[in-house]
């Protein structure tokens, strides 16, 4: 963070972090459309994805307004490279266990549910706090997003409990997904100059202060799901600071291919 960084720069970077989270997870969840385990879950994933894309649009629109020039929600989503994305690494992972970027395997619904649970448990707290942001537009987006995210959390939590306290297979799959994904939650609490600056002037929230509340949500759900809380240790990912996994490049290649093949076109 250089001395010349203005609050506008921080606001832009902070909004991008929130928007990139929403668009990347929205993109992932929508992959289930037509492939879900039961129609109701196709609908639920579509719904969650729609909410997230909607959040991303509002946040990118705010960002674009502050950047000025020709920037639009779509230039931000479609014409930035992976190193410019500021989403949590957790959200870009494919719907399966740990494999390299160009491996191929079946999608696993337990991975999807556990990720949505871990992330929405954080975001209900983040949006709640951001309702009090000094930025009125962000506060308004937070209020709207909070309602949606409460539903996402309830949906994921209900399934986490069903899986954990369901069959032996579902328990094992949920536990494996938790073991795989929990280390990525370390990134939530990791230092980020943008988050620190945004919290400092009342735009953002100091995520570290939310940790006890997040722990309580997680522990409570895991207890009900009869799952063991996996260690969140080891490598701390840095997606929110622009250092991603091998997966984001593929996700964006697909997401952006058509828009980039027709630069400047209106849709």
């Amino acid at each position: 963070m250089s001395a010349t960084t203005t609050t506008t720069d921080v606001t832009i970077d902070y909004l991008l972090h929130l928007a990139d989270n929403a668009v990347v997870l929205g993109q992932r969840n929508a992959e289930w459309c037509g492939h879900g385990p039961v129609i109701e879950e196709d609908l639920a994933m579509a719904n969650i994805s729609l909410d997230l894309i909607g959040q991303a649009r509002l946040l990118y629109q705010q960002t674009a307004a502050r950047m000025g020039g020709d920037v639009t929600e779509d230039t931000l989503a479609y014409f930035r490279d992976d190193t410019q994305f500021r989403n949590y690494t957790l959200l870009e992972l494919p719907h399966h266990g740990p494999l390299v970027g160009y491996a191929r395997t079946d999608r696993d619904y337990a991975t999807t549910i556990v990720r949505n649970f871990l992330y929405s448990a954080l975001m209900v707290l983040v949006w709640e706090a951001l309702q009090r942001s000094c930025d009125d537009e962000l506060a308004a987006i937070a209020a709207k997003s909070l309602k949606e995210t409460r539903y996402h959390l309830r949906h994921a939590r209900d399934w986490l409990v069903r899986m954990g306290d369901g069959t032996d297979e579902s328990h094992a799959r949920a536990q494996a997904a938790l073991d795989h994904l929990m280390p990525y939650t370390q990134e939530f609490w990791a230092d980020s100059p943008v988050e620190a600056a945004a919290a400092a002037f009342g735009l953002g929230v100091d995520v570290k202060t939310l940790r006890p509340a997040w722990d309580a949500i997680v522990d409570d759900a895991l207890a009900e799901a009869t799952l063991k809380r996996s260690a969140a240790t080891g490598y701390v990912t840095q997606g929110k600071n622009g250092l991603h996994s091998e997966h984001l490049g593929y996700l964006l290649a697909e997401m952006q291919c058509l828009a980039r093949a027709h630069p400047g076109a209106q849709w």
Binding site: V23, Q27, A30, E31, C33, G34, H35, G36, P37, V38, I39, E40, E41, D42, L43, A46, N47, S49, L50, I53, G54, A56, R57, Y60, E73, D74, A77, Y78, D106, R107, Y109, V161, R162, M163, D165, G166, T167, E169, S170, R173, E254, M255, C257, L258, A259, H262, G264, A265, Q266, W267
Partner: protein, 312 residues
């Protein structure tokens, strides 16, 4: 006999048959076949458009497309519920689909090859579906008629959205206009075939008409669709790929060329470009999801047992 007479009288008076009412077995079977086939079509129909969600070229179009595909899933859901009122379970219907005994609309056995396909499916495929479905809103079986009212309303919305997306593309670059024309070329004839074989060859029509399940013939609906669509194509600025298409002032309708019924029957009989892929994808989703459904059931049972224990 008296029951049958009362049933026929109610149909003749344009009254509604409800689940608790007596109905002839053949009527019940016909409805189950038709409603479940319609439900399957909605579910399978999520796949061709779902293919473009990840690549939608703007966030607005991505959101519209997700919402649309979600609506299709929702239609499938109510239609399965409507069929369930006739005494068949969703599991039985899905089993019939997955084993190939039940059909779904053959239009979904074609691939979606460019982004304009999404708009063209909205405009033409949904347009043709609405033509077929509007008369069903007055169908004699109450739950089906009510489901169709809701579905037709949403489908009309999708059709307008599809058409609007194409209008924007046609005002765009040459590459965008080419995509629209390419999509129209691929889908036009397939949409005409959606109304089913010519009336002369259509086995189910007569009985369906008598029972108030079907109310307008295939050829009439097809003509209505063409008459409504040609002016829309002109506004859009695309060419419908039929050199024989022209206004016939004597008939007061558009004349049109020969539909390739061999291609239609080949696809209906399992040999279209995507029949195997569509069905195998649904079967895979169902099989891959077995453990998830099992988990929900097992958990519900555990919950129930715990509640019983507490109550005891």
């Amino acid at each position: 006999e008296e029951l049958l007479a009362r049933f026929e009288a109610r149909i003749a008076a344009d009254g509604r048959i409800e689940p608790q009412d007596w109905m002839p077995e053949a009527y019940r079977k016909t409805l189950i076949r038709q409603i479940s086939q319609h439900a399957h079509s909605e579910i399978v129909g999520m796949l061709p458009e779902g293919n473009w969600i990840s690549r939608a070229p703007s966030l607005k179009r991505k959101a519209i497309l997700i919402a649309k595909v979600q609506d299709e899933g929702g239609h499938g859901q109510y239609l399965y519920s409507a069929a369930e009122t006739l005494g068949i379970s969703r599991a039985e219907m899905l089993d019939a689909l997955h084993s190939g005994r039940a059909k779904y609309s053959s239009i979904f056995n074609y691939p979606t090859l460019n982004w304009a396909d999404v708009g063209v499916i909205g405009w033409l495929v949904d347009g043709a579906a609405i033509m077929n479905q509007i008369p069903l809103c007055r169908c004699s079986y109450g739950p089906y008629a009510r489901a169709m009212i809701r579905i037709c309303k949403e489908e009309s919305f999708h059709q307008r959205q599809g058409y609007e997306a194409l209008l924007v593309m046609m005002k765009g670059t040459q590459a965008q206009r080419d995509m629209v024309q390419d999509a129209v070329n691929r889908w036009w004839w397939k949409c005409l075939a959606m109304f089913g074989p010519p009336d002369a060859d259509s086995p189910h029509t007569a009985q369906g008409m008598r029972w108030g399940i079907k109310r307008i013939s295939n050829d009439e609906l097809r003509q209505k669709f063409i008459d409504a669509t040609v002016p829309q194509a002109e506004v859009l600025g695309v060419t419908l790929p039929d050199p024989d298409l022209k206004w016939n002032p004597e008939r007061g309708h558009y004349d049109y060329g020969q539909i390739d019924w061999d291609e239609f029957w080949q696809t209906v009989n399992g040999h279209g470009p995507m029949n195997k892929q569509r069905l195998a994808t649904r079967v895979k989703a169902h099989n891959d999801g077995q453990w998830v459904r099992d988990a929900a059931l097992a958990h519900a049972r555990k919950q129930q047992q715990r509640a019983l224990k507490e109550a005891a």
